[in-house]
Symmetry: C2
Amino acid sequence: VTTGEGAVVQAQCVQVVRYPETNVRDDDFEIVTHPLGPLADGQVLVRNTWTSVDPALRIRLRPNAPAGYFAAFPLGQPMDAIMTIGEVMESRADGFNVGDTVWHGAGWRSHAIIDAGQVAMNGLATLRVLDASRVPAQSYLGPLGTMGLTAYAGLRLLGALERPGTLWVSGAAGAVGSLVCQMGVQLGLRVVASAGSDDKVAWLRDEVGVAAAFNRREANLVQSLREAAPEGLDFYFDGVGADHLEAALECMNQGGAIALCGAIAEYEQDQPGLRNLFLATSKNLTLRGFRASSHADWIEPMQDLLGGWLAEGLISYPESIFEGLSRAPQALADMMAGRTVGKTLVQI
Amino acid sequence: VTTGEGAVVQAQCVQVVRYPETNVRDDDFEIVTHPLGPLADGQVLVRNTWTSVDPALRIRLRPNAPAGYFAAFPLGQPMDAIMTIGEVMESRADGFNVGDTVWHGAGWRSHAIIDAGQVAMNGLATLRVLDASRVPAQSYLGPLGTMGLTAYAGLRLLGALERPGTLWVSGAAGAVGSLVCQMGVQLGLRVVASAGSDDKVAWLRDEVGVAAAFNRREANLVQSLREAAPEGLDFYFDGVGADHLEAALECMNQGGAIALCGAIAEYEQDQPGLRNLFLATSKNLTLRGFRASSHADWIEPMQDLLGGWLAEGLISYPESIFEGLSRAPQALADMMAGRTVGKTLVQI
């Protein structure tokens, strides 16, 4: 245990001013300074270096958000439960030393005091020291963090780790989607990808190496799918929801499986509702809703599988980095509007 | 092989005149007489005694019905692929003798000539001799037929054969629903049932012995569910779809499972669409669409389990019997309107 000086630190915190009615805007947020400290026994002061921006944040920006992991952010208080990387500045807890790289769940702020050992986000965000010697620290917010766990859990629940077939990934240029595509390619699946711009489609086809890719904004989804996968779909990893899920139901093969990891489109606006779920019956389909946070026990096999591919250079993960805590709201707005590629991060 | 007289038989056949736009009406059908015979080698002439009326027929009464098992009935021709019980009148096929009780798929008509050995409805409706000595012949259209297979397959796919919990059954007074309720009670599950009239609710509570039951027409579904199952739902056997499925999603516990066996409400009219499937993600739910016809290999374990309970008098199954082939359309209309209880049958 390193005992620090017990100084009070001024922490800058992003706070929600109001819940956006439609699209996220910069002025839905404010930055407020809160004094932190001094430390109590068992606490650690962390200077945050990287904080995560992911689609699940959007659903927490509404007054009627469901309970649990997706509970609404309180108004006028620091935002809670957002994965973050930082450096220990001062510690009064065993196992944590000044200079350690750690992860925890108190993101979207410059500094945080964390109770070591307090279970956060079902264990996913409990304060933990990271080995950042082989991989960049921020990869623990991406392919080796909940993003990797989401991709891995989805493929595992689909049964796609064990049997071959055609996999459609929507939102394929996103943080999770691009990882799912690459894992699919490595697993020997025939991967069909869709994304929201021609640039992303080209990147998926040329760099990621999927079998087929199309721009969801410029085509009839069902027709595009039939052209990209005339053999039909065995697996669908849903990163969009709504019309994409309807199109998948149309194009699934008998006995197919669909992974629902939290459809980005449903976060942003009201949808007319899913009209063809009946096809799940006639085609004997399985739909698996899941949250990565419910599969914390799969972190190890995920890091085994993905860490190996990462070390061999078989997996790449683009980052969209926004510099400075004050740009976090803009980062979220840009991500929701489809203007970012890969994992969206804020470097503090 | 019994060789008959080679006579021509006049078969009365129900035929679809037009696809009903909303509710099924008697005059959407006509009865047409077709001469049948003489028999060719390998064929059997059957006088039908019982024919089945079930919700899946409704979806086949529309021009844009999906392909396969649920393909539209052709207009102006005898209706195909409907489970039926009959008696062999004449046979030119090995293994079938005059007087045998058989099942096959050429229902809604007085007589049929069947090619023995021809696989029908994935094997479910292939011509087969029945043992009708221990149970009434028509029970093979009910608890020991596709109805039993649907109930069994749904509970098996839910995981409810192995683990305890609270099971909601909607459409619980229907043919499949009432069987699911009774199986649930026998399995030791806490069964919550809903149906469309107070009489049905009373029957479910007093005769079937479910833990709780409510009238879906007289209450807010979510509120009724919360009162009937304050502990939440672990399993939902969906016999209604639409608003019922939405209510189930609201009330499911973490890790719960939903069986979709073809929602009756979606057959009858256009629905606004499912708006809260996102909850499947936040609650780690599994939705299993299935058709009994895809699980023909489960007929034997189903008949083991259900046949035993049936022999012991632990399972009862009300029948709504309509006398005479000409009343088949009325039987379907009454069933779709919720005016029948249990298995709906036509005695020819």
